[in-house]
């Protein structure tokens, strides 16, 4: 049995929140540069130039890439042989989010209650925390700050088995076409297929953590990722004001489902597809 103190977790999360806000992952940066080379629209090229320059300024000056520094989504893998000492794991994570967002001059964008009062909690907590128990004695923490310009365009469709691959393609494209210029394209599209309604949405969020250069291990899903990316780049949406670079990647995650169902969830992320990872 290995022991770690909650303070270590809090400190790691605080640092990760800042890193994720300031430093665009290298694979996303490279995908933007590649998009700039092939973009056909002159306005689209101007937009991509601004986006690339923005990532460079943010990195050089430790400034948030986007003013929407997001609601913090945390994916935990907790080794079952790990003992966490000194307090509650969730409290430690939330303390880290509060610390990181305050120290890092990040925008606090969370309201405590969604409908009537909508009062800002002033420290960006609570985070959305997904916890999974795994073998071993390590704690893996992945952070995905999610902006809501793109989150508001995310959606889910409960298909039936007869809808098949074509149904999945249509569902994804309907969501993308409805989102159009709004989610700050070029987008990164996370697709979750299978599970239940909520699990499909979870898969679609997890899919955004995978590097854009890595395709699904299952060849048929990898092909579907390529087909969907190709279709999205033919919509004309482009980098916000029209063009050929509408999305940088489509990442699919899938899981077992019920004999009667075929849930498809799409989490749309903007070009600032931010995340950071640490293993304690």
């Amino acid at each position: 049995m290995r022991t770690i103190q909650v303070e270590q977790i809090t400190e790691a999360v605080a640092q990760m929140c800042k890193e994720a806000a300031y430093y665009l992952p290298e694979d996303v940066y490279q995908a933007l540069k590649k998009g700039r080379e092939t973009e056909e629209s002159p306005v689209g090229r101007d937009v991509l130039d601004q986006i690339i320059k923005n990532a460079e300024i943010a990195k050089a000056e430790d400034r948030p890439i986007c003013q929407d520094t997001g609601m913090t989504i945390v994916f935990l893998e907790v080794g079952q042989d790990l003992h966490i000492e000194g307090g509650s794991l969730n409290d430690a994570i939330n303390a880290g989010v509060a610390k990181g967002y305050t120290e890092g001059y990040l925008r606090k964008s969370v309201v405590a209650e969604p409908l009537f009062d909508r009062k800002n909690t002033q420290n960006n907590t609570p985070a959305i925390i997904y916890t999974q128990m795994v073998p071993g004695d390590k704690l893996k923490i992945e952070i995905e700050p999610k902006g809501f310009g793109s989150e508001n365009k995310s959606d889910i469709k409960m298909l039936v088995p007869a809808d098949g691959v074509e149904g999945v393609k249509k569902a994804v494209m309907d969501i993308i076409l409805h989102a159009s210029c709004n989610p700050c394209p070029p987008m990164v599209v996370g697709v979750g297929i299978g599970g239940t309604m909520d699990k499909a949405a979870y898969y679609s969020k997890r899919a955004l953590l995978r590097p854009l250069t890595v395709r699904n291990e299952h060849p048929k899903y990898a092909q579907l990722e390529k087909d969907l990316l190709d279709m999205i780049n033919k919509t004309g949406i482009g980098p916000q004001l029209g063009g050929t670079t509408s999305a940088l990647a489509v990442n699919i995650e899938w899981g077992p489902t019920h004999i009667a169902g075929l849930p498809v969830a799409v989490t749309i992320c903007c070009h600032a597809t931010r995340h950071s990872k640490r293993v304690l």
């Binding site: 056909e40 629209s41 002159p42 306005v43 689209g44 101007d46 937009v47 601004q50 986006i51 320059k53 923005n54 300024i57 943010a58 000056e61 400034r63 948030p64 890439i65 986007c66 003013q67 929407d68 520094t69 001059y105 990040l106 925008r107 606090k108 964008s109 909508r118 800002n120 002033q122 310009g149 508001n152 159009s180 210029c181 709004n182 700050c184 279709m231 033919k234 919509t235 004309g236 949406i237 482009g238 916000q240 004001l241 029209g242 063009g243 050929t244 903007c270 070009h271 600032a272």
Partner: protein, 185 residues
């Protein structure tokens, strides 16, 4: 890219009506930031017959909720937020004399009709280019509703703030015009 058009605030109806969808502009002068909560508070105040904290005549509103400024900087990162969320309030606000709006994303037909009537222009700034855009902001001053935090009503002094006319005062929409040549589905 065609040459960028320099505009200074206040933006008169005449100047606004000259701008065409697809024009690239650089804005200088004072613009005012307001987003969801500020719009809600202002339209509620108008409904009660109260005066607003500023005179919106010939002004530009920027849909923005910036990150806090680091010491030594006038403002944090400050890219545009989704304009469509303001659509429910926009016709009322345009009646107050606003001639320019800066945001990102599409607008409802009612908003476009009100823009035509009032001679207003909708500009897009690049969504997410918030660190880059912050370079053009020289001063940030909260004018009203400080309790709204990042949603407070504030005055920004800007120099060469980069934007593109997406919907002009005749209702031409560059989101549609710009996408068409590249749609191959």
């Amino acid at each position: 890219m065609a040459e960028k058009i320099r505009i200074t605030t206040p933006l008169t109806e005449e100047a606004s009506r000259k701008l065409k969808a697809g024009d690239s502009v650089l804005i200088s002068g004072v613009i005012y930031s307001a987003r969801d909560a500020a719009h809600k508070v202002m339209t509620e105040a108008l409904a009660r017959g109260e005066k607003l904290p500023i005179d919106w005549h010939n002004q530009i509103v920027y849909y923005l909720g910036p990150t806090p400024a680091k010491p030594g900087n006038p403002i944090g990162s400050c890219g545009p937020t989704t304009a469509g969320r303001m659509d429910a309030y926009t016709p009322t606000m345009l009646e107050q004399g606003i001639k320019g709006m800066i945001g990102k994303g599409s607008r409802e037909p009612e908003v476009i009709e009100s823009m035509k009537k009032n001679g207003a222009t909708y500009f897009a700034a690049v969504g997410g280019a918030a660190a880059f855009i912050s370079k053009s902001v020289k001063k940030y001053e909260v004018i009203a509703y400080p309790e709204l935090g990042p949603e407070a009503l504030a005055a920004l002094t800007v120099e060469d703030f980069p934007a593109i006319v997406v919907i002009d005062s005749e209702g031409n929409n560059f989101y549609e015009i710009g996408q068409k040549p590249y749609r191959r589905l």
